[in-house]
């Protein structure tokens, strides 16, 4: 039957390529020109022509926009490079210098606080959002849509909104707390005081990011079979027990994927911190992406700036590999 297939074959089939043992041999008995095509198909796959043609533009883009810059980054991080001047190779000097740089160490610590603080609260609020939306309220899809708005609105707009809300003299937050609720005797410079700046910045990240957690958990909860809940209810399980023993195991994979995704995104969030504080006051909210930016375009020290960015790579690479495995596993099912 294989010999009746003209090449390039319109009939795709993994079985046919896979079992290949006797079929190229049979084809070779037939017309000779076919044997090369058949051999190619055996080596490169049944749809290799269209497949490679279709993948080519993407491969070019990935090479030019990610793989090449990435390798170039590794090279530049080993050089002393200023804008407009050719790089000078210095080995690991940038990395060594950064390791003992107090500003860098502070940025690492801030990044950890920012990421962990944000992700924990996003997880909590996202879970609350998903539970509220599955609790039998009316107009569920409308409310879901509204709650997702911070996630789709431009980050810069949201950051600017909060910059205005937090404003020390004319901001509405101080107005509410001082004049309306009378909780505080006087206004707070939310972003200009070291004690409140980090929490204020984290809040904006939470505000923007929790809907993504919520919507993902919601989708996961909808996929948990209703019979499981019914069975649990028949067995007399309380709401809390049902959540712990039915809901949570059912959405476990989604929870892991969302936490990992959000950790990567939060760790690399640039816009919120840059717009709200630019890392200030006095470095209190300086996180690694903003630190790298300032070093590259403020101090014009590109080599060192890339070394900052590449210091983020090992933990990120670890997260990315674990996450990629989970996401592919999710796909396979």
């Amino acid at each position: 039957m294989a010999t009746t297939v003209p090449s390039p074959s319109p009939l795709p089939s993994r079985e046919r390529v896979g079992v290949g043992g006797d079929f190229p041999a049979k084809a070779a008995l037939g017309a000779r020109p076919h044997s090369i095509a058949v051999e190619l198909r055996r080596m490169l796959g049944a749809d290799w022509r269209l497949g490679h043609l279709f993948i080519l533009p993407m491969a070019v883009l990935v090479l030019a926009l990610v793989a090449y810059p990435f390798c170039y980054a590794i090279y530049l991080s080993l050089t002393q490079k200023y804008v407009g001047v050719p790089p000078v190779f210095v080995g690991f000097e940038n990395y060594v210098r950064l390791a003992s740089d107090g500003f860098f160490q502070r940025a690492v610590a801030n990044s950890l606080v920012f990421t962990i603080g944000s992700v924990v609260f996003k997880l909590f609020l996202g879970m609350v959002m998903a539970l509220v939306l599955t609790s039998g309220i009316r107009f569920r899809s409308l409310f879901t849509g509204i709650l997702l708005i911070p996630w789709v609105a431009p980050t810069v707009v949201s950051a600017l909104n909060f910059l205005w809300i937090y404003d020390g003299s004319l901001g509405v937050l101080n107005y509410l707390l001082v004049k309306v609720l009378r909780i505080l005797p006087q206004g707070v410079g939310w972003l200009s005081e070291p004690g409140t700046a980090m929490a204020s910045v984290i809040f904006v990240n939470i505000w923007r990011g929790f809907p993504f957690f919520g919507i993902s958990f919601l989708a996961g909860m909808k996929a948990v079979p209703a019979e499981l809940y019914e069975a649990a209810a028949v067995d007399g399980a309380s709401v809390v027990q049902r959540f712990r023993h039915v809901t949570l195991p059912g959405i476990r994979n989604i929870v892991i994927i969302v936490i990992l995704l959000s950790t990567i995104w939060t760790f690399n969030d640039f816009a919120i911190v840059y717009i709200l504080t630019k890392g200030g006051p006095g470095g209190a909210t300086q996180v690694l992406p903003v630190f790298a930016y300032e070093m590259a375009f403020g101090a014009q020290r590109l080599g060192e700036a890339i070394a900052v960015a590449l210091y983020m790579l090992p933990p990120l690479a670890f997260l990315i590999i674990v996450l990629a495995r989970y996401m592919r596993k999710g796909r396979a099912r």
Binding site: P12, L50, G51, Y72, V156, L160, W164, S216, I251
Partner: protein, 279 residues
Amino acid sequence: MTKTTVGRLQLGFSYGILGVLLLMVLFPFYWMTITSLKSEDQMRSLVSMFWPSPVVFENYDQLLRKTDFTSWFANSAIVAVSSTLLATAVGTIGAYALARLRFRGRAFMSSATLITYLVPPSILFIPLYAQIRTLGLSDSLAGLIAAYPSFTVPFVTWLLMGYFESIPVELEESAMIDGATRFGAFRRIILPLAAPGVLAAALYAFTQAWNEFLYALVFITDVRQRTLPVGLSSFITGDVYGWGYLMAGAVLTTVPVIVVYIYLQKYMVEGLTAGSVKG
């Protein structure tokens, strides 16, 4: 009897929490909108905080006439539309190949796509900047159009791979038994079926490109070549805050995204879950 009371209490509690979440989510947008309609005097005097009195349009007038806002809007539109078209075309055929076709290198490319999607811009922005400069594309929209596919293409591809996989293989196979080529089957059978998914992916890519900040901040220095996010953030200069027209700009920057979103809400919610985090 007690059971329904408990249920009612729980539902009431849910509505209460929902109210808090809605307030938290919507307040910044409400505040942005009313600020854009307030006069400067009113803002400074802290009167009638929660409603503009009188409602004025001077902020919009000033924004559109005295700033480069309209150029930025046009720049954002050009960059977002071009890079979206590019990303959608490349991503659609790439996703089809990865989801359906059998060829050597397929497994490697699927992994590469996913990993590329996850590699954050904060690692790539400096080398990309150096590259864009070498190519002479800094300070031009072309540089951004060239750079944005680095995040839109992997995203579109990953999302559409899931979509293509959900279309039954039998449809193509029967078309090919009827004499269609692989490409013919893709074009006539699969593409029309996947159209809603492709549209959703495209619009999602559009919002990502529209909202992008870091590359636009780094690659562009010429004021008139800025995109909206960078342009808006440049209104914060020192202590002179033009909050009125800044918020007017924020409103006008948000509107296109929200329009796209309302139209797409169903797909986006499904796409987010089916595409990116199917667990």
